[in-house]
């Protein structure tokens, strides 16, 4: 398998058809991330993925080959989602919107219901920290913010979740420095 960095180099020197391989390789990962950030809004998630890949292509020259391509893609995708929220205010998803998953509806909604009280910014950090298991420092590097800011925002998010879900049997983790190893899929 050709490494991502090599495909980036080929896309720049030999043409955009090499970028198609990168799209195929990372589109499912990016779509899943977008679906989680948008709380399952399929059309919006597809827009995020599309705009992210376009932004990635236009900034391909600035890609640092020592960096992980997927991490770089994640950072751009998150910024892209933020920009889209800034440009057009979010709208509520339809109650009966068909979920884009292969799994039963009840279990699918549990995660969305868990993160619903969070703001978009908190939701992004929560997803990166707990679903993708990025460390606080890694999130800070991806989003180009201070790790202290990530930590405080995550801590505030957890407090809000505790306040909302206090009647459930949810035991929410306490935010500490670092965390489990990153398995980013």
């Amino acid at each position: 398998m050709i490494p991502d960095a090599e495909l980036v180099r080929r896309s720049l020197s030999h043409g955009s058809h090499h970028f198609g391989v990168l799209i195929q390789r990372h589109s499912n990962y990016l779509f899943a991330l977008a679906m989680r950030m948008t709380k399952g809004q399929h059309a919006l998630a597809e827009d995020v993925v599309q705009q992210s890949f376009l932004n990635v292509f236009s900034r391909l020259k600035s890609f640092d080959h020592k960096r992980d391509f997927r991490g770089w893609l994640t950072g751009i995708s998150v910024n892209c989602y933020r920009d889209m929220l800034r440009k057009s205010p979010p709208f509520d998803e339809l109650e009966d919107a068909a979920p884009a998953t292969l799994e039963p509806v009840d279990e699918d909604r549990a995660f969305v219901e868990l993160i619903t009280p969070l703001s978009a910014e908190q939701r992004i950090l929560f997803i990166l920290r707990f679903v993708y298991e990025y460390k606080v420092e890694e999130i800070a590097a991806l989003l180009e913010i201070k790790s202290g800011t990530v930590k405080s925002k995550l801590s505030r998010a957890m407090s809000e979740l505790r306040a909302v879900h206090n009647d459930c049997e949810l035991v929410l983790p306490v935010i500490e420095e670092g965390g489990p190893g990153a398995s980013h899929e």
Partner: protein, 106 residues
Amino acid sequence: MNKFDDIIRHEQQKTYVMRNEALFAFYLQAKINGQQERARLWRRLVMVCALLFVPAVYLSDKVSAIVDLYVGTIIRATVPMLYNGTMTLVVFGLAVAWLGHLISRR
């Protein structure tokens, strides 16, 4: 394992599927190709402008001669027509037709 861990574990294992992945990739690739082509066209435009810069500077030096050659010819051809009334009649006719058109619309 508590409920929070259950929800997170379930979410990590969940598979999200695009409605039409192949079409999406095709459309995206086409957009990227278009973007690349547009950038290439801009580069070519800049190159052409740079190449034309020297002759343009030379011509701008001679602009008065060129204006005199072309515009002067047109003026010299038109003025006698104005004098003998042909052009005046055409302009007057057009003005009357336009006024008539405006009035008929009321």
